[in-house]
């Protein structure tokens, strides 16, 4: 018989306001095996923990039940306290009477009743608990950063700075990401390239950083400290070790009509290309969709021109396998497709552009060399209308429910820059709200309005109609004046919502990291663990976790790096002893457990067994690798005979909890 102590936490008024904690403690005192029961204002505080430690010593407790917040919050805290008092930490059970009880009930009586029931379930479980000992696993001192935008770059630089090797995997031929396409940055208006490209060069020159550009993560297995990753290095058809980045091939390639994705299709590049002058690594890449040599076997101009002999039409995708201790996700974002917003005539007129396209049109390295010209006829626009919240804060299925956060500020930036450079241009901004929280942000916006005379109009644009004379007729409503507006614009700029990069969802599955309904990665705790994924060893950097601007992204990138460094510093990690194991005598060898195991922790062996009447038989039985098992319990549910069981969460323990609840 266990000797169990019950500790009921008030959590200030979080629990005590809706649960009669004293009554819970008194009622649970009468449960079988309970020798001590008390309540306290903050169990997790030092004095609270002392109550637990003292009771363990005084009453020689063999099990502890703590009625408090979610085990996600303080299970580790209480286990440590028990361990210090000489009790096996896995003899501690938490009854969650906060998130699952006091926070969701209003009435004291029902909440108290439920708290007692949850406490009973935990007591019933502790009766069947057995001491567990955690093993140790080594840490591979190398980090992987997935995504080479500003978030990934910053994270990699910080990790490398701490002395650890770090690899960046970037799917594009160069690192730099979206920031490389941006012209100026708010609220300081410094040139994005001027602050980004030195960091890109730092990455290339840092001998701790290895860049796998034009590569994608193919498969991830393993667990915290011991991830094993397959990276597909796509064929560039150019030997990276030989290419000097001279760019001669990219000028002479006869295939001229390839839409240039870096300039968002405003101009063309060749079939062999370097995305932009400051690309890192500055190596040429052949686009297999357009290269005549690769498609028809006839051409070979680049190969003849290349003095370095770097062109290799026979190059194949390469699979690189590498081990990592930590993985940082920095997959970034994409603007949403605007084809669902036909009212803004994006597909009908070239002069309706997205904000990112406007960045290219205003960028000195862009298709117009920085002169703002109408894409349709190359003339100077005199009236420009900005439409805010295209797809952001959208209630219907077309858009996104969230605020994209950066649009208000970059639109103010665009408006200001246009008024500065072309004072003869009238700029209208249609907005729902202008959101400017952030250092110097509101001052920036007010400068646009007060100093630069940008017309901010509260209201939405209903329709944009391209006219035969090349003008865009903008129909909108001014909500403050309560009247309809007709503006003849030369250009319309749509501040489209941003969404996580499409590669994030399959990646999350490979990482077994959780995502929200919008495909943003979820953090382990929204306030207290904002850069960690709930999956151990996975960290989040930048837009993949939620909309944020460049300063925030950089801050989060460094935070993720700090967390990863904290992990890589350790020589050994404590394993989770709550892993599955199979009762070989009952195992059917049916493979259902292996089929459902997300971690590939289960293998099968043919083993000889003694059978009745002095016979033996060879049977196929399952075997769990405890280092790979994450204790998710999928196998125990799938196993028809109940041979598979999970330490710390055995079928019997769970059934006894259910029984205690249903009693």
């Amino acid at each position: 018989m266990q000797k169990i102590g019950v500790f009921v936490c008030h959590c200030g008024t979080n629990i005590a306001a809706t649960v009669d904690v004293q009554k819970v403690a008194q009622t649970l005192k009468n449960e079988p095996g309970v020798v001590f029961s008390t309540d306290y204002q903050y169990m997790c505080s030092e004095s609270g923990q002392d109550i637990i430690k003292n009771a363990i010593a005084e009453y020689k407790l063999t099990g502890v039940v703590i009625c408090s917040c979610s085990p996600r919050m303080h299970e580790a805290t209480f286990r440590r306290a028990a361990e210090k008092a000489g009790l096996n930490p896995y003899m501690v059970e938490i009854a969650n009477i906060r998130e699952q009880c006091s926070w969701i009930h209003k009435e004291m009586q029902t909440a108290t009743e439920k708290a007692v029931i949850l406490g009973r379930a935990a007591i019933a479980k502790v009766h069947l608990n057995a001491p567990l000992t955690a093993g140790e696993s080594p840490v591979t001192k190398r980090a992987l950063v997935i995504g080479g935008g500003i978030a990934g770059i910053q994270t990699a630089l910080d990790i490398a700075d701490a002395g650890f090797n770090v690899d960046i995997v970037e799917k594009k031929p160069t690192i730099g990401g979206k920031m490389a396409q941006i012209d100026k940055t708010f609220p300081t208006l410094d040139c994005a390239a001027c602050i980004l490209t030195p960091k890109m060069v730092d990455c290339a020159q840092n001998d701790k950083i290895n860049i796998y550009a034009y590569s994608e993560v193919e498969d991830i297995s393993g667990f915290v400290g011991n991830f094993s990753v397959k990276i597909r290095k796509k064929a560039r058809y150019v030997d990276e070790t030989k290419c000097t980045g001279c760019g001669l091939c990219t000028e002479k390639c006869p295939q001229k009509n390839v839409p240039n994705e870096f300039n968002l299709g405003f101009d063309n590049r060749r079939a062999i290309y370097i995305p932009f002058a400051q690309a890192v690594p500055k190596k040429a890449t052949i686009d297999p969709d357009y290269c005549t040599m690769l498609k028809t076997g006839k051409c070979g101009v680049c190969s003849k021109l290349c003095t370095a002999g770097a062109i290799d039409y026979k190059q194949k995708d390469q699979i690189i396998e590498e081990k990592y201790g930590a993985i940082i996700v920095a997959t970034g974002f994409e603007p949403i497709k605007v084809d669902k917003y036909d009212e803004f005539a994006y597909s009908q007129s070239k002069d309706v552009v997205t904000s990112l396209e406007l960045e290219r049109l205003m960028n000195a390295a862009g298709p117009t060399k920085g002169t703002l010209l109408r894409p349709s006829d190359g003339t100077h626009p005199h009236t420009i209308v900005f439409v805010q919240c295209v797809g952001s804060r959208c209630e219907d299925e077309k858009g996104k429910p969230y605020c994209s956060k950066v649009c208000c500020m970059y639109t103010a930036k665009h408006a200001m820059l246009i008024r500065e450079k072309y004072p003869d241009t009238e700029v209208y901004v249609f907005y729902i709200d202008v959101r400017t929280p952030g250092k110097n942000f509101d001052e920036f916006y007010r400068r646009a309005v007060e100093q630069y005379g940008v017309h901010y109009i509260k209201g939405m644009v209903g329709k944009v109609m391209p006219r035969a004379d090349g003008k865009l007729e903008v129909r909108a409503s001014d909500l403050l004046l309560g009247k309809q507006l007709h503006i003849d614009a030369d250009m319309v700029v749509l501040a489209v919502a941003i969404e996580p990069d499409k590669t994030a969802r399959p990646l999350a599955t490979m990482l077994t990291a959780s995502m929200d309904t919008n495909d943003f990665f979820t953090e382990a705790h929204p306030k207290l663990r904002p850069v960690e994924s709930p999956t151990a060893g996975i960290f989040l950097s930048g837009m993949c976790q939620g909309p944020k601007d460049i300063p925030e992204t950089v801050a989060q990138a460094s935070a993720a790096a700090a967390k990863a460094i904290g992990l890589l510093c350790k020589d050994k990690l404590t394993c989770n002893p709550c892993v599955a194991h199979s009762d070989e005598m009952m195992c059917n060898g049916c493979s259902l457990c292996a089929n459902v195991c997300p971690y590939g922790a289960i293998t099968y062996v043919d083993k000889e067994f003694r059978m009745p009447n002095r016979t033996t038989a060879i049977r196929r039985v399952s075997s769990v690798n405890p280092a790979v098992c994450q204790g998710c319990g999928a196998c125990t549910v799938a196993c028809p005979s109940g041979a598979m069981d999970l330490s710390g969460f055995s079928n019997r323990q769970i059934m006894s909890e259910v029984d205690a609840i249903c009693k």
């Binding site: 399959p506 599955t509 490979m510 005598m585 009952m586 195992c587 059917n588 060898g589 049916c590 493979s591 259902l592 089929n595 459902v596 195991c597 997300p598 099968y604 038989a617 196929r620 999928a634 799938a638 028809p640 005979s641 109940g642 041979a643 079928n651 019997r652 059934m655």
Partner: protein
């Protein structure tokens, strides 16, 4: 057909391909046919194949395939699905079995015949699509369609999905109305459905026939026989326990049940147990896309599989599990 099969069995025994034959033999009455293993050509004189050879022989292969030598087994189309499913689960040693696929145009239900022809059945002869039934009190002629087993009335396939050799031509997968009855239950109110199942399941006498015959129930140790499982019981001790027995069993075979219908066929209390399993199959089809357990020995049931594209469980009801 029976003669062709006996000839085939004798031939394979003779040339040493197999050392045992699994088929059916007649019992005391013409209709109580039981599965049997024959080891010599002489023993094959008791071999029968006819309208009452409903028992699915695939489950016997779990034990028989692991014995010395090779066993010949005659499988009807629906039996081959169970055979494949057992192969999937590594329960059968494929090298120990020689499968001969045999055609089937539905088996008959003796209870239906008794109800129509009366008691005292002495002889039943098949004449085309009719059965000539001789009883102690006279004779009558019945249409086979009126006395077929319920499961055969909604037969899902005439196609063999596993065999080494076929006797006769292979058939096709059929359009089956087998989910109509499930739909009827789905349209009931929860209260009506509860009372329907209480009415049916409370007839259960815990004879375990359904479990013992089920080709998906081949565990080394069944949870109902395992004192550590917490659900072990030899007899129902509370009025609700018989419900739980069948519900637990339905969950255990979910995704693996090929809908062979043996459970309902052998139930002495005539509980339509197959409806529980069929509901699972219908749900799987609707949520994850069409899936027939056993159709492909390499396939994995969507409910006992993990793929990287699996939808989060919480949203499967909203948009299906097909992504």
């Amino acid at each position: 057909m029976q003669e062709v099969m006996i000839k085939k069995a004798a031939e394979l025994l003779e040339n040493g391909t197999v050392n045992r034959v699994m088929g059916w033999k007649a019992g005391e009455f013409i209709y109580d046919v039981t599965p049997a293993v024959f080891e010599t050509a002489e023993e094959l004189k008791d071999f029968v194949y006819g309208d009452f050879c409903a028992p699915n022989l695939s489950k016997y292969m779990v034990a028989e395939s692991k014995k010395d030598g090779k066993i010949l087994v005659f499988l009807k189309p629906c039996d081959t699905y169970s055979f494949n499913e057992l192969l999937c689960e590594h329960r059968i040693n494929r090298d120990g079995v020689y499968v001969v696929g045999i055609p089937c145009d539905g088996k008959t239900d003796i209870e239906k015949i008794k109800a129509l022809a009366g008691p005292g059945i002495i002889d039943i002869k098949r004449e085309g699509d009719n059965l000539k039934v001789q009883t102690a009190y006279g004779s009558s002629e019945l249409s086979r369609d009126d006395v077929k087993l319920d499961r055969c009335l909604v037969c899902k396939s005439h196609k063999h999905v596993a065999y080494d050799e076929l006797i006769g031509e292979d058939g096709e997968i059929r359009e089956s109305k087998r989910f109509d009855e499930v739909e009827r239950l789905e349209h009931m109110t929860p209260e009506e459905r509860f009372s329907f199942w209480r009415g049916e399941l409370s007839k259960c006498i815990r004879c375990n026939a359904c479990r013992n015959v089920c080709p998906a129930c081949t565990c080394e140790k069944c949870v109902f026989d395992n004192p550590a499982s917490g659900v072990e019981n030899k007899a129902a001790s509370t009025s609700f326990e018989e419900n739980m027995f069948h519900i637990i069993r339905a969950f255990h075979v979910a995704g693996r049940c090929t809908d062979c219908g043996e459970c309902s066929r052998v139930c002495p209390q005539h509980i339509p147990l197959h409806l529980l399993n069929r509901k699972f199959i219908k749900d799987i089809n609707e949520l994850y896309g069409e899936y027939q357990a056993g159709a492909d020995p390499e396939s994995r049931s969507p409910v006992v599989d993990f793929t990287k594209n699996d939808a989060e469980p919480g949203i499967i009801y909203e948009r299906g599990g097909n992504e």
